[in-house]
């Protein structure tokens, strides 16, 4: 067993390890110049920064851009330290070095209540756990974009790398000009001295590479000029002119195109195929059987002159499919199984505080959420080319190294013979944390030696072969004392765990022999900020078997609906205004209270609204950030409309407030699609919602106006891409209750 496998098993065994990567020394992630691709005339100064002959700056980019603005945000960190204009930073895909691994994302998998990880509140056990886990995280070197962790993870290493590069350049310039380092001025990518001397970085790069920058610190907060500014994203023109390159836009010489026809019954197989009709079509070149692995379904690929020819061929295939041997998967049965296990089993306790006293005065409710698909605008696709025994892969992936390893495995090639190029992602939302689409393209390329091939899934295949947000049910119960005050809150939920299934598919070498408790099952339930004296939150991990994956904000996405709707129920029972009730129970959670109050104030909570409209409020912490939303809704002719959302966020130090606002707006729309219509039904193993006419999403006419307000903070940056999602559904459902007294306890909302 490899060393890192042992480390991970230890970690997965449920040891109480923790979040927050503050203790991992960023200096160990500076890397060396060899970590970056050597290019003609360029000089690498460390693993992140390379200086071109012309003075340009290249930044190693290990994170994938899927709309969340991470390319711009990380470039801003480097540009700030070097005092160069943002548009002068060139991004270069980072290599496979473990130093680029996402330590913050790995740490966030571990189940801790946020209160235990607050600075100044950490026990010796927690500190030890942090240190150990950070070590494990670095050892793993999992290069991944997910968990709203990119800025938090890059915050120290990228700033330190750029500051170190600056220090070396300054030393070299000072030596060459025979002036004190302290007299040099860095501005707009130039180094200058009052004596009139001036030069660009390229002139000092070679000399500075030989110098040791010593013990460097990033700029003080007061000296920032770029961090915290609404700098325009670096990709605006490319994405406003059709010139941005997504996976589907890769074009190679003499490329052919392929389409997939996968077994419509999840987990099923190919019994027999008649390819004659397909091969008889003009432009159809080849039919290739596809082996299931890494979560990919069994099926066939059809290669054609264009994607259209391939699609025609795929439709013309005559295939006999077989159900999976364990029997057909079915969402109705899944719901029954979850309810049965929830009633019968105790589950794993994620959080317990105090002991609930017996009470006659209780309130209980059962909530549920369905399976959900990702529906990225860019359907799954991957391009691959086998040349002289070497496989090149172009993929819009969130996990480049896992994708490369999976491609090598599928191709039967040593890892060193496989290279991967990460394109822009036309949406990710967690779907591209998978490697199934890469594995299939690798198989197709292996059957076409010397020929580049682009494998594109139809929307129907993309919808049917997703890794869905798991269905979850939860039973929530509160007891009250004689005065009607909440005494205890107990929550038990049930649903399939994502992390162990994902490990099996994406990091099979690290998958454990048994399922450790998965924090994502209970996140958003066990980690609530409210000060109820007695709390117990447990989760029953089921194994329905429908493929489940990470869906933007993961467990929080449905658990916040359960918990924040129930908090609203408790407020109603107490006869208290939902805002006042939350304020009352947040006396020991000042950050949460500040966010809640900001949203309420901006929304003018409680103001008189037009007839037929009401406000609802919800508050939720996820990925280190706290978000409160006030939704203004109406029910016009029975149709639920969300008109406006006031959104307040505390995400620690803000790198780019414009991107934060974009993410809040996008999160609201993404969450609203799910809240109003999101549902995937599987009948006899087959997904019923296959394209946008069956899987409705919010469009222009239904998109609410979102107003974003940021709570100023000097804490370490936290997540932005996901935390705006969880509070939306409960805010809307709570508004419906305020409007007509109807309590909606299942998603999608049927008002």
């Amino acid at each position: 067993m490899k060393r890192r496998t042992i480390l991970l098993s230890a970690l997965g065994a449920g040891s109480a390890l923790l979040v927050g990567w503050g203790v991992a020394p960023p200096r160990s992630r500076l890397g060396s110049a060899d970590s970056m691709l050597p290019t003609q005339g360029s000089v690498g100064l460390n693993g992140w920064i390379k200086i071109g002959e012309d003075g340009s700056v290249a930044l190693a980019m290990p994170r994938s851009e899927m709309g969340q603005g991470v390319h711009t945000a990380l470039a801003m960190l480097a540009a700030e330290e070097l005092d160069i204009p943002l548009d002068k930073v060139r991004l270069e895909q980072a290599g496979p070095d473990a130093m680029y691994g996402n330590v913050a994302a790995v740490l966030a998998f571990l189940p801790f209540h946020p209160k235990q990880t607050e600075e100044g509140q950490r026990s010796a056990t927690v500190k030890t756990a942090q240190w150990l886990t950070a070590k494990v995280g670095r050892e793993l070197g999992l290069i991944m974009t997910g968990g709203s962790s990119s800025v938090a993870d890059a915050w120290e290493p990228v700033r330190l790398a750029a500051a170190s590069a600056r220090a070396s350049l300054a030393q070299a310039a000072a030596a060459q000009w025979q002036v004190p380092v302290g007299e040099l001025v860095f501005k707009q990518g130039k180094i200058s001295h009052a004596s009139g001397k001036e030069g660009h970085f390229g002139e000092f790069a070679a000399a500075s590479a030989k110098l040791n920058p010593g013990n460097v610190s990033p700029k003080a907060r007061k000296d920032w000029t770029l961090i915290g500014s609404p700098a325009p994203r670096m990709d605006l023109w490319a994405k406003s002119s059709g010139s941005a390159t997504f996976g589907l836009d890769v074009r190679l010489p003499n490329m052919v195109f392929a389409a997939v026809r996968l077994c419509p019954m999840i987990g099923g197989s190919v019994q027999s195929v008649d390819s004659a009709a397909a091969l008889a079509l003009p432009g159809v070149l080849k039919v290739i059987p596809l082996k299931p692995s890494h979560g990919a379904s069994a099926g066939l690929a059809v290669v054609g002159k264009t994607t259209w020819h391939a699609r025609q061929g795929a439709q013309a295939l005559q295939v006999q499919w077989a159900q999976r041997p364990q029997g057909a998967l079915d969402t109705t049965q899944a719901a029954e199984q979850l309810q049965a296990q929830l009633a019968k089993e105790e589950g794993y306790t994620f959080h317990e505080r105090g002991t609930p006293a017996a009470s006659q005065d209780t309130l209980s409710a059962t909530y549920s959420a369905p399976y959900l698909g990702h529906m990225t605008m860019e359907p799954m696709n991957c391009t691959a080319w086998l040349q002289d025994g070497k496989l090149s892969v172009w993929a819009p992936a969130q996990v480049p190294e896992a994708a490369r390893e999976a491609a090598a495995k599928a191709a039967g090639l040593p890892l060193a013979k496989v290279e991967i190029h990460i394109t822009l992602l036309g949406g990710g939302f967690g779907r591209r944390l998978e490697v199934d689409y890469v594995v299939l393209a690798a198989q197709v390329a292996m059957a076409l030696p010397g020929q580049p091939v682009q494998l594109t899934w139809s929307r129907e295949e993309d919808s049917a072969h997703d890794f869905f947000r798991p269905m979850h049910v939860a039973q929530l119960q509160a007891s009250h004392d004689g005065q009607g005050q909440v005494q205890s809150l107990q929550i038990k939920s049930a649903g399939d765990s994502i992390s162990p299934r994902w490990m099996e598919r994406v990091l099979p070498a690290f998958a454990g022999p048994f399922d450790a408790p998965d924090k994502t099952d209970s996140e958003g339930l066990f980690d609530l900020p409210y000060g109820f004296a007695h709390q117990k939150m447990a989760h029953v991990a089921t194994k329905v078997g429908i493929p489940v994956g990470f869906w933007r904000s993961v467990g929080h996405s449905h658990n916040a609906f359960f918990s924040e709707s129930f908090i609203d129920e408790l407020a109603a029972k107490a006869g208290t205004n939902p805002l006042a009730f939350r304020q009352q129970w947040l006396q020991d959670a000042p950050r949460h209270l500040a966010v809640l109050n900001l949203a309420a104030e901006k929304a003018q909570w409680g103001k008189t609204l037009p007839e037929g409209q009401a406000q609802g409020i919800a508050l939720h912490e996820s990925f280190g950030s706290i978000v409160a939303q006030v939704a203004r809704v109406s029910l016009e002719g029975g149709t639920l409309r969300v008109h406006e959302v006031f959104c307040a966020i505390d995400c620690g130090t803000v790198v780019n407030p414009a991107i934060v606002a974009q993410q809040m707006e996008g999160s609201v729309v993404f969450a609203l699609s799910a809240a109003l219509w999101g549902q995937v039904d599987i009948v006899q193993g087959e997904v019923q919602q296959r394209n946008f006419h069956q899987h409705h999403v919010v469009g222009m006419a239904h998109a609410p106006q979102v107003h974003t307000y940021i709570v100023p903070s000097e804490r370490t940056p936290a997540g932005v891409g996901e935390p705006g999602v969880p509070p939306l559904a409960p805010a809307v459902a709570n508004a419906v209750f305020a409007l007509n007294g109807q309590r909606l306890r299942s998603l999608p909302l049927k008002a």
Partner: protein, 174 residues
Amino acid sequence: MQLQINGQRTHADAAPDMPLLWVLRDQLNLTGTKFGCGIAACGACTVHVDGQAVRSCVTPVSAVQGKDIRTIESLGSAEHPHALQQAWIAEQVPQCGYCQSGMLMAAAALLARTPHPTDADIDAAMSNICRCGTYQRVRAAIHRAANSPMPSPSSSATKSASSSTASPASGSAA
């Protein structure tokens, strides 16, 4: 087959029923026009045919022979961006960016026939899907472009405005 694309006569080796989308993307390497659904439901593949916004994934190439086909690649250049592209940048519209070519082409066709659209006009004309949720910025950018003093440089968007009929505005503003 001869096609008139972005002002140039172009030869395409395509069967009559082949959708325009795949001719553009896979034969002519005009990849700015995107594939999203294949059933005209999402609008990522929107192009202009004689100034009208058309969903190219369901438009057989035979139906556009002899017509003026315009794609995102001809909307504007970095030196001479379309008023909408300027507005898109000013409002910081794109996130992942995948749907934005279609959004821009739909918006350009809208402005060509309705130079000062109301929110209801925008709701009715802009049925493109964006999973990143850029809608409120798309709306703001369309209003900004409509109010910008700069004339639209796109010949396609203005040319056949007279031939189109205004869509009934039935949507309601958020």
